[in-house]
Symmetry: C2
Subunit: 312 residues, 2 copies
Amino acid sequence: MIIVREVAQLRQAIAERRQFGADGAKAEQGSAAIRPHTVGFVPTMGYLHEGHASLMQKAREMADTVVLSIFVNPIQFGPNEDLDSYPRDEARDLEVARREGVDIVFLPTVAEMYPQPTRTKIRVSALTDRLCGASRPGHFDGVTTVVAKLFNMVGPDLAFFGMKDAQQVAVLQQMVTDLNMNVTIVPCPIVREADGLALSSRNVYLSAEQREQALVLSQSLRKVREVSEDDVQNTFTIRQLYQMVETTITSSPLADIDYIEILTFPSLEPLLPEQRLSDVEEDIIVALAVKFGNTRLIDNIRIQKGEVLLHV
Amino acid sequence: MIIVREVAQLRQAIAERRQFGADGAKAEQGSAAIRPHTVGFVPTMGYLHEGHASLMQKAREMADTVVLSIFVNPIQFGPNEDLDSYPRDEARDLEVARREGVDIVFLPTVAEMYPQPTRTKIRVSALTDRLCGASRPGHFDGVTTVVAKLFNMVGPDLAFFGMKDAQQVAVLQQMVTDLNMNVTIVPCPIVREADGLALSSRNVYLSAEQREQALVLSQSLRKVREVSEDDVQNTFTIRQLYQMVETTITSSPLADIDYIEILTFPSLEPLLPEQRLSDVEEDIIVALAVKFGNTRLIDNIRIQKGEVLLHV
């Protein structure tokens, strides 16, 4: 596993693997029919957990070279957010990367990523004014800008993102489509603890009591799953779905709801309260952001209409 | 010369030239020491003149494959600008491209470039609020967004832009640097008619009388050049330089000044009126936008401090 901290080293390491292949021997270039070497990319902010590991596994499965980046990106944090306290553990992260068979780890400093403060920002409109975009103004501009920078450094064929940040997946897919970026976004399923809590680097902030009560998030989403599967006619309305989720979450006295939203996915358009589940043709996402103390947790479930139809 | 109208064809044509080289034979891939095939890109809005031809010549000189794009980009025009009347002549453009040895011409429709209206925009701040950015709000967001899209389609090593749009060069260089795009911007000198008028596709709009009076632009800039070369101590102040230019331009009764600005280049920072030419350490640009009837012409001169020093 190669560890690089500078953009120039990163470009060179990837160019070498593209040219000479994974085993360092000169790749067969004799025929146009030979499948070209592919690069899979997993961008992260580190403090890696099994959710990240699942992205690396998917990348390992689909690509010849796997590149992992670890960078806590200052421009996606608001002034009152947890940039300074965001958890970091480089040694353990490198262990996880090694275990998952990552080829190249990119660990840049802030100065390497932003030698000058960036004057250029990429902004995706509409998709970013709701959900986390509403409570974290500028957050997604920071995400799209840094991901575009990383894409330009790595030049990946495939890029892997967890569906836990479903809005991030939708926003990045929109950016890639709109800007004709030559990369395929591969969304990967949410990974959960045995008791249902979605994995997050921020879970370490939770007290034992908060950790216990935070289970209302996944519990409420499991009920959504059951309704969408069991209710064969899908007579449930969006309003009923909302109320069911809200009732479950407010059963926790520590839960401070930031938002509960039910939207189409990936277009993130709002649905009417009286609309029935069965009348929505697009996929639906139920997305939550709930604070426990100072820790803001997010979770979501995607109701895939193809999937629902199988049960009708 | 290959003419393509779809992004997929464009990508394929370029990939083939990268893989098999300019002559269609399989490129030598045996050694890492062999210089890789380079792609030079000239993005234009068509109605090609000798200014564009000079970009193609430079690209032909520097790159193995030369790609020309012709696309009148709607999102860089304001609502009251000349999008609909912007001059077009595809047959003649293709003749020019052929004459200059272009390999691939990309001629997309608006639907091919924007299958849906783009929700993603790239914005370069600071550099875009002055000069043409002040009188054309949103113009540069349209330019940076379409150029990023074209870069992502072509994947050029080198991209060629005329210094006539000096602000465009500065803005694009900022975007490339900030977003770590793997392309080198090559600025090329302004090409002029024998009498000094800077070539522009919009010159065809000028009446004979306007055309005659439009010479005040280049005349005023020639005086700037003379002062910067002759005044060995450069005791001239920015204010004096400004007044000299203004006096020359207002000698034309038809000239309607949009702006005369004297800024650093490429950072486009304003200079103080009492500052002496000799005290400025960066390059200086004197940039003009002047309307003759409905036709807005731009021109500029760059005082390269290295160059000036040679004359001290």
